[in-house]
Symmetry: C2
Subunit: 295 residues, 2 copies
């Protein structure tokens, strides 16, 4: 697969994804809640998690309807976490994806409610009355709940909160990021694989791919935070530095952080090779696209 | 069944419930998150929702393990909603169940994260690796997600937020409360019924019982808000009045609100009679216990 084919696959997948998500997030929710939810999740973003779900499902030849629902569910979880994370009591961020954050646009109370409702909606879209086998619905709910809860994303944010102004060693930093962003990225890959008849070996290798990619993503994010301007990032640059938050750059230095990102990409690709699957090209090129943001 | 038997059933059920919940909410969650979650959900409360799940499951002769998980899940959703609802950007309440609210005890950021993690945990406990048939796991997740999301609890809170200082007619007030508290109480009853081999007729009648009881609960809550002192309620009394929030008492007057509560109890009991189930005594006495708080 060449770069042009990959770009075409990304475009086609994202069009279908945006249409599916648009149909699932209700404009009709009462008292402006639907408007706030739609503002928070339909406003763009890289959509890396949905692409991982869809690419992983394609690699195992899985059920595309189920994978599309899983892609929407994962993105709803990611988007709700951004809404809550941006609020004044957390990061107090006023700009996201080049526009005012949800609490700036709708008020804090509505933003908190919208985040809460988005989390519930994620599990709602995984459990339709028909179209997905009940056992797969249950499996997808389990994967999403565990990766976003106390032992995953929410736990990572608690560590993040407690780490402000502290020196962390690389091991603790890695554990924080694994939970905060890595576990949900990994879950995206595993949820995609769950939509098909993947062998235990393939599922395990895909999970390792997801873990390496998840960590690479965070390392790259930390590099971009110090090397790019706010208008390019679409959010406030230098934020972590200003907040005195430990990052891969502050712990390892810029050069070693760049090397780590490359090593993780290589690790992700070795895991893909170990899946035994015929075509993992989308997943491979997604790993490239994550790391090449800093090159 | 006499009152003593019912009290014994409540005591036994609550002991088992508290033990189950205690085992499911992790003290080990990172960076104080587990402590905040445990503070928010293990601190007592009436446990009406868990009792409804367990009583409904018992009435249909359902799976007790599944019902206990469902009871924990529903209570986790209820408890997370209280944590978020008490925060400064919402009701700004400092006292709940006779102790400081979660954000007062742990800070706003940790309280928001604890609420988020409690919601995820609710779906986590419904999807164990074994012990509950996958189709039942999926059904319980669907019921919980829909009753707590934009069309249920979160939607009701958005209406509540938008209604402060406004005059509402009884119909709009009823819709707000149906979503805000009624739908989750009703879902508790339906989730309990889903754990057993309930007929469509029994499930429908139990759902109607839940709807009437849910509304009665809110009417009673509004009556107590104006007739009881803070130290009896364990939370700030007169709060709705002070916040200029519409209540059943402000819309109907105290006498008519009391009559409505009695009418709803009678309606709940008629629905129970229509279930065709042999023993609905626990559910019947739970309806009494809800309404008799104001007599």
């Amino acid at each position: 697969m060449d770069a042009k084919d990959f770009d075409h696959w990304v475009d086609t997948s994202l069009s279908a994804f945006e249409a599916a998500l648009d149909g699932l997030v209700p404009a009709s929710a009462p008292a402006g809640l639907g408007e706030a939810m739609r503002y928070a999740v339909l406003g763009g973003g890289k959509r890396l998690r949905p692409l991982l779900v869809l690419a992983s499902c394609a690699a195992v030849g899985g059920d595309r309807f189920a994978a599309m629902r899983a892609a929407c569910a994962v993105e709803l979880i990611h988007a709700y976490s951004l809404v809550h994370d941006d609020m004044p009591c957390m990061d107090n961020d006023v700009m996201r994806r080049g526009k005012p954050t949800t609490h700036v646009a709708f008020g804090e109370a509505q933003a908190m409610l919208a985040g809460d409702a988005m989390q519930a909606l994620a599990f709602d879209v995984l459990t339709p009355d028909d179209g997905i086998a009940p056992a797969l619905q249950a499996r997808l709910c389990a994967l999403l709940a565990r990766s976003s809860g106390y032992d995953g994303m929410a736990g990572g944010q608690a560590i993040d909160l407690a780490s402000i102004g502290k020196q962390l060693d690389e091991c603790t930093l890695r554990d924080m990021h694994r939970r905060k962003t890595g576990v949900l990225l990994q879950a995206s890959v595993v949820m995609g694989a769950a939509c098909g008849p993947a062998s235990a070996q393939a599922t395990q290798a895909l999970s390792e791919y997801g873990a390496a990619l998840g960590l690479a993503f965070q390392v790259v994010d930390d590099i971009l935070d110090v090397t790019q301007e706010s208008h390019v990032l679409g959010k406030t640059a230098g934020k972590d530095q200003d907040a005195n938050k430990p990052t891969y750059v502050s712990v390892l230095g810029l050069g070693a952080a760049r090397t780590l990102a490359q090593d993780l990409r290589a690790q992700a690709k070795r895991a893909l090779a170990a899946t035994g699957l015929a075509d993992v090209s989308h997943l491979s090129l997604l790993a490239d696209s994550v790391v090449e943001r800093v090159n």
